[in-house]
Subunit: 430 residues, 2 copies
Amino acid sequence: MKIVIIGGGAAGTRAAIELRKRDRNSEIYIINEKNYREYSPCGMPFVFSGEVKSFEALQTLDKKFYERMKINLILGKKVREIDTENKKIIYDDTEMEYDKLILATGSYAFAPPIKGIDSDNVIIFKDMDDAKRIYEKMKRAKKAVIIGAGLIGLETAYAFVKNGIKVTVVEMLDRVLPVMLDKDMAEIVKKHLEDKGIEIYLNEKVLEIEKTVKTDKREIETDLVVISTGVRANIELARKTGIETGYGIKVNEKMETNIKDIYACGDCVECVDFITGKPIMSQLATTAVRQAKVIADNIAGKDTEFKPVLNTSITELFGLEIGSTGLTSVRAEKEGIKVLIGKYRGKTRPEYMEGEDIVVKVITDEEGRILGSQMIGKCLIGRMDAICLAILNKMNVKDLANMEYCYAPPVSQEFEPMYIACEMAARRLR
Amino acid sequence: MKIVIIGGGAAGTRAAIELRKRDRNSEIYIINEKNYREYSPCGMPFVFSGEVKSFEALQTLDKKFYERMKINLILGKKVREIDTENKKIIYDDTEMEYDKLILATGSYAFAPPIKGIDSDNVIIFKDMDDAKRIYEKMKRAKKAVIIGAGLIGLETAYAFVKNGIKVTVVEMLDRVLPVMLDKDMAEIVKKHLEDKGIEIYLNEKVLEIEKTVKTDKREIETDLVVISTGVRANIELARKTGIETGYGIKVNEKMETNIKDIYACGDCVECVDFITGKPIMSQLATTAVRQAKVIADNIAGKDTEFKPVLNTSITELFGLEIGSTGLTSVRAEKEGIKVLIGKYRGKTRPEYMEGEDIVVKVITDEEGRILGSQMIGKCLIGRMDAICLAILNKMNVKDLANMEYCYAPPVSQEFEPMYIACEMAARRLR
């Protein structure tokens, strides 16, 4: 069997690896538009900050790994056509047949139409090429403006501060991390960042970039402008092939597109939102690799389904972890769902052990079914995963309010903060 | 309504607080045999280590709190009789009537019959009186022997090392933390402790204590011997009152004993093991406070049940966290359950972020139903709680193998270690 994968990012590369794990004999090809191997895009801000020593370090799989796994990697080639009838793809003058085709075409950075956006000191931040340009300019910059207060924007702001740069963040919406957080939680993050010297302007629109950044409220001097205002799925190739698309490529639970033997995974596909049942873009590395496994299972003849998502995500900024899963209350209300809130602000350890601050917000519907959660503090990884599990098991806050948990003074509280938040939500139930 | 609580530890005190939260008017009495208010027993080793500044700091509720909550605290009185017919308890020459009675009589330290155990340099470690004696002797000790390698034993060993004391631990069984860990996981902890200078002798029985500790294999010089070989439920009062007992006081899901209007919670009661359905002693602070809430709910007329337990527990020793939930494979096998194991040893963060070691073991039955998990590493709190949730939701490793989780390079791996362990177990399924 010959399997061709278009796209060599997290999704495509993981699909290749998982396929090889399940099948020693198939021919596996990855065709990547960019001229480099897979790397961790999530790690790029931490090269800026100096925590990762080089961009090359983000490429965790070396050439030998691909050879050993017998994954044929074709770099710097853009597939321009898929001939679904003859099961061929075409790049340059080359035609390549496939038995199974996997689209892992990823996403591109979406930038708002700002005058002067093509100036030399403005970089729309998406991939490693952009990151390298930012890195070079960063070294000489004294002042920088980041447009967009999402994950990548704030992580870049953090990294710039670490380099002694004066940073201003401009965000069109009313809060930082608007996809992850409600206003009340976002305020905690905003204050934390401001305490570290970052200037943050919300509800503010950038109108023009020249030597300065002009917003609808002020003019900001800067040496460098980084735009990180979100990504969109790369679906052009799919669309012109007759593959069904919405915001992204449409797939079923097996990650199959509407065309036989063509699968899709990663940033380019649409997922199903676990709470609303509606299409949603996930565009997380964890989603990409989990989808890749499902494709590998299905191609290997094992019936596996990719389930609806909560888009559980996390970051750390100046030592503060920020996590989110499921719906924010803003989004829930937009969906017409009346919500109940449980919010607990406490410490990670008993008073006598001098714990650190932790804030947990739990959002439920009026029957107590958990819709989402946001946390700010320390050691959130497993806690976010626990709440995610609880939501996916359709648990009620009432059950979580007195749930079993573990405790020892050096690491936690006698009462687990996430379950206190649930108890507080449960009290609001009729 | 008059509610009398026998026992002022975590269980009894929490019951009083939760009752007061639900009912402003009832009279609430706590009668405590010891002459002091509630304190955190789990925190005592960290007074030895200097991390907690005093034993008083472990008493997180001050006198004013009891007054404000209108909880009448009677200290230093031992209830010698319960007159169930006339609904009275008797201590000294005092009779006190009750409408509802809660037994929270706790547990006592069980010590094996060792010759010389009553010597002045030997302390059986259970409560704050013992801890204060240990603390005084510790100051002058150069060498110490700890008998019993359970949680409290090892935490005390850790604290002694922090004080520059040469510590030897003697354990009768073949591993440290025998309730929490299987041999393979316990070996990691043992090595970690040995690296910190603790001598550990397993499969070894203490025969006699004089000036030295004599085991069946050697003689160990010491200035101080601490015995921490487990606890047993205080059930004498219950038993002579005609309350049904086994290893502990028997209660139903509402935490009611077989006698009307008498409840019990905490270390003195038997729980139900979630996996086996058999009676089990839990004797964790978290179990005590959760049971107390259930009693308060039921007395307040709200129908709540205390569910079977997994006994999820955690500790930290020299920066290494150790967690356990559900059955170990040793215990599963004793129960006649054939197990499958998934074990993953990796890092907490991507290679390029220099993560720390983490080991996750997952134990399932032959159908993939998760029975238990053990973890050693960092930020285990939420991870243990997540696996605990998964088990209580009767999830299969197959579902966890591709479960949603969160990831960001500064705090976690692109692949969550606990779910990799599940994936490894899932591969062993037929």
